[in-house]
């Protein structure tokens, strides 16, 4: 084992392998991997892990505007915040639970649609045709717009009296009475559409990059075997995309679940009940009403849920990958 600490020395362990011995599939153990990880670990500690620990600490404090200035001396509240938050019969817990279910539905639909759109766009853009690169850029454009601008445009489209959507619906005679999109039951669908519009280019980007590693010979071989479009998709494309998909779907899920910008800009800080997704709910419970202890407790509960889902997801997908 090499014990030196300077970088050039670290790089050495692989050189002796030159001597004709058949190398193992992995490079040998050394300090090199730790050195490679160091910047990532240090930054994640600074920006995510330590603040997060502080955040968890906040969740067991009584922390409102009265304590915020000297919050290290805020009174210990034990599990009081959690009790109030997770008592689903109480007013606070009931709203949180409602918000939770709205978010689950929203996330499931949004991730599913983003992935489908991204997959089909990427697959259909594999074959060269005139205008292909134009479409590729166009599809990425929603991603290039500043989030605020993109969402405010949708707000504009959704206006009941002056928006494009109702204009389309009334001109085509689909509706008689102009519906509301930013308040009431439709607001959920309005939110979903914006979320998909904004997010699917990312799925497209990743899947497109993932498809680069699928050798064209595999398609040709499949085609010679007489595989049609769906068979090729199922037998060649999807298995080859599996490593990309595994991360992509998980990350889309996490982002959408924690998505704050979309409802915040679309509904201006107080979302309608039907679209009261959890991030905006927590924002309202901590920042607008200045109850940081309770807001933190909600966040920690949310975090535990996401950890659980992620763990289960990774277990299942990894097992499947190993079996495949």
């Amino acid at each position: 084992m090499v014990t030196t600490t300077t970088a050039p020395e670290e790089a050495r362990p692989s050189t002796p392998r030159k001597a004709g011995r058949k190398p193992k599939s992995r490079l040998p153990r050394s300090k090199l991997p730790y050195l490679l990880l160091l910047p990532a670990v240090a930054l994640e500690l600074l920006v995510h892990v330590i603040p997060m620990v502080v955040g968890v600490w906040m969740s067991v404090l009584e922390l409102t505007q009265f304590q915020i200035r000297n919050w290290s001396e805020a009174p210990f509240a034990g599990l009081d915040n959690y009790r109030a938050t997770l008592d689903f019969n109480g007013p606070v817990g009931e709203e949180l639970l409602h918000s939770f279910w709205v978010t689950v539905l929203y996330t499931t639909l949004s991730v599913g649609l983003c992935w489908l759109f991204g997959l089909f766009a990427a697959v259909f853009l594999q074959r060269p045709f005139p205008g292909r690169s134009l479409l590729r850029t166009l599809f990425l454009t929603p991603y290039a717009l500043p989030v605020y601008a993109a969402i405010i445009t949708w707000t504009f489209i959704y206006q009941r009296d002056t928006g494009l959507l109702n204009e389309l619906l009334t001109v085509t005679g689909l509706v008689d009475e102009r519906p509301f999109w930013l308040i009431g039951p439709n607001s959920f669908w309005a939110l979903l559409v914006v979320s998909v519009w904004k997010q699917w280019p990312f799925a497209f980007l990743c899947i497109m990059a993932g498809l680069q590693n699928v050798p064209t010979e595999m398609y040709e071989a499949a085609a010679i075997d007489g595989a049609g479009f769906w068979r090729r998709l199922k037998d060649v494309t999807l298995p080859m995309l599996r490593p990309v998909n595994q991360v992509l779907v998980l990350v889309l899920f996490l982002w959408t679940f924690n998505d704050f910008n979309t409802p915040f800009v679309l509904f201006g800080g107080s979302a309608p009940e039907q679209a009261d997704i959890i991030s905006i709910h927590i924002y309202r419970s901590s920042f607008i009403t200045w109850n940081f202890g309770q807001g933190s407790a909600m966040s920690v509960a949310l975090l535990l849920f996401l950890l659980l889902v992620t763990a289960v997801y990774l277990l299942i997908t990894n097992r499947r990958r190993e079996h495949a």
């Binding site: 409102t64 505007q65 009265f66 915020i68 200035r69 000297n70 919050w71 109030a84 109480g90 007013p91 606070v92 709203e95 707000t155 206006q159 009941r160 009296d161 509301f180 999109w181 930013l182 308040i183 009431g184 509904f267 201006g268 800080g269 107080s270 309608p272 009940e273 309202r284 920042f287 607008i288 009403t289 200045w290 109850n291 309770q294």
Partner: protein, 421 residues
């Protein structure tokens, strides 16, 4: 020592005794048509201050969307500006953080004394019984703005003074795609301001003497229902207003799509939207024809912007000098004139700049029939919860659901329960 350095307004105080250039950081709120406009407005004034005192002020115009979060961050960390503008409804909430210099008698004396300020405005600068956490800078109140041409076309000679009249007039004006009244139904804080003023007229209080929320009292239910009913029952409000949260109601008013508007100092906004000042009239917000039991003669909240000093400032004297400067007669005239608001000091009320019809109405409301929002630490919660409950009621009304007293009560009870934690 303090008094000595601030009483002078001439050239003799050369930045105090500290030597070297003193600097202050000031966060201004967005009062004008754009951030750039505000900068151009404030720059020459702050240059004057530097000339007078040798104190340089670095300032930033913080958009409203960011201001409260930034204040909170500054209060939490003890790092940030020396002097800030705050929305006056935040006063008690911010006061509770203990991050601001209290304007006790000595402190307020250093900026000219308690009696300088308009009493109603000073009452909206912190919890009663405690020294104010800020002093008023720009003052505003609600008024009824009406489209003169629409009124004369419909043969209406005088603006309504009671809600009953307003409904009658509103029905006359609601035709041909035009509506009697415009309101900002999806904006929680606008809603809550009306909930407060209507509540006062119906004899309701949102908090009892001990500071406990009393949202769902029959008086408050009746008051909120009256406001929602303009859309739900009287149908003088376009149902689309239920989704308005970006000042679209001013737009509707300026474009003639709605003939009346309840707003605080809408003049500049209307002008910015292309409506000439002689196209609209201004009247006090109406009252019920017969006052309900316990009803008060209140038709506006005390609206406005306060100016506060952070405790973490390195130079409290300089900061107070700056507050004194901003609330001085000359600056009060100059700034309030530019922003279309009212002076927060009594000495310049009769200045020629504030004798237009709009300013006179607003000033008289502020002097006689305005009350501050409840000055309790949970005020922002009240605005959010009650305002959101009303937003939901408007959404129901817009989709044609009948708004019963029970429905209103249920929403308000629900909001009240969420205060509990």
């Amino acid at each position: 020592m303090l008094a000595a350095s601030v009483t002078a307004c001439g050239d003799d105080s050369d930045g105090g005794s500290g030597g070297g250039a003193k600097t202050l950081t000031y966060w201004a709120s967005n009062q004008g048509a754009s951030i750039d406009f505000d900068k151009k407005t404030l720059e020459p004034e702050l240059a004057k201050f530097e000339q007078q005192t040798g104190i340089k002020v670095n300032f930033e115009v913080v958009p409203w969307s960011d201001l409260l979060n930034r204040l909170l961050a500054a209060a939490t960390s003890g790092k940030g500006p020396d002097v800030v503008n705050i929305g006056n409804t935040w006063s008690a909430s911010l006061q509770a953080t203990g991050a601001f210099v209290p304007f006790d008698d000595a402190t307020i004396g250093a900026v000219g004394g308690k009696d300088r300020f308009v009493p109603a405005a000073l009452a909206a600068a912190g919890a009663p019984g405690q020294p104010p956490t800020a002093v008023p800078l720009y003052s505003l109140s609600y008024a009824l703005y009406y489209n003169k041409k629409a009124f004369s076309d419909a043969g209406i000679t005088a603006p309504p003074t009671t809600w009953e009249e307003l409904v009658t007039v509103g029905k006359k004006l609601t035709k041909d795609g035009k509506w009697g009244l415009a309101l900002e139904g999806a904006n929680p804080s606008e809603n809550s301001h009306h909930a407060f003023a209507f509540g006062q007229q119906w004899g309701g209080e949102w908090f009892d003497a001990a500071g406990k929320p009393t949202f769902d009292t029959p008086q408050n239910v009746a008051a909120v229902k009256r406001y929602i009913d303009f859309m739900a029952v009287d149908k003088i409000v376009n149902p689309s207003n239920a989704e308005y949260a970006q000042n679209q109601s001013i737009t509707d008013f300026a474009n003639g799509k709605a003939a009346m508007l309840l707003w605080q100092a809408a003049g500049n906004a209307a002008k910015a939207q292309g409506m000439a000042p002689d196209a609209y009239g201004v009247a006090p917000v109406p009252f019920p024809a017969t006052a309900p039991a316990g009803g008060k003669k209140i038709n506006s909240m005390v609206a406005g912007i306060n100016i506060a000093v952070f405790k973490h400032t390195k130079d409290k004297d300089a900061a107070l000098q700056f507050v004194k400067f901003m609330t001085s007669d000359a600056e009060q005239v100059q700034l309030n004139k530019t922003y279309g608001s009212l002076p927060s000091v009594t000495t310049v009320a009769s200045d020629a700049a504030f004798q237009a019809e709009e300013q006179k109405v607003l000033a008289s409301v502020l002097a006689t029939s305005a009350a501050p929002l409840p000055q309790v630490a949970e005020e922002s919660k009240f605005e959010t919860l009650v305002g959101t409950a009303m937003k939901e009621l408007f959404a129901d009304a817009a989709s044609g659901k009948p708004i019963t007293e029970d429905a209103v009560k249920e929403k308000l009870s629900n909001a009240q329960q969420q205060m509990g934690s």
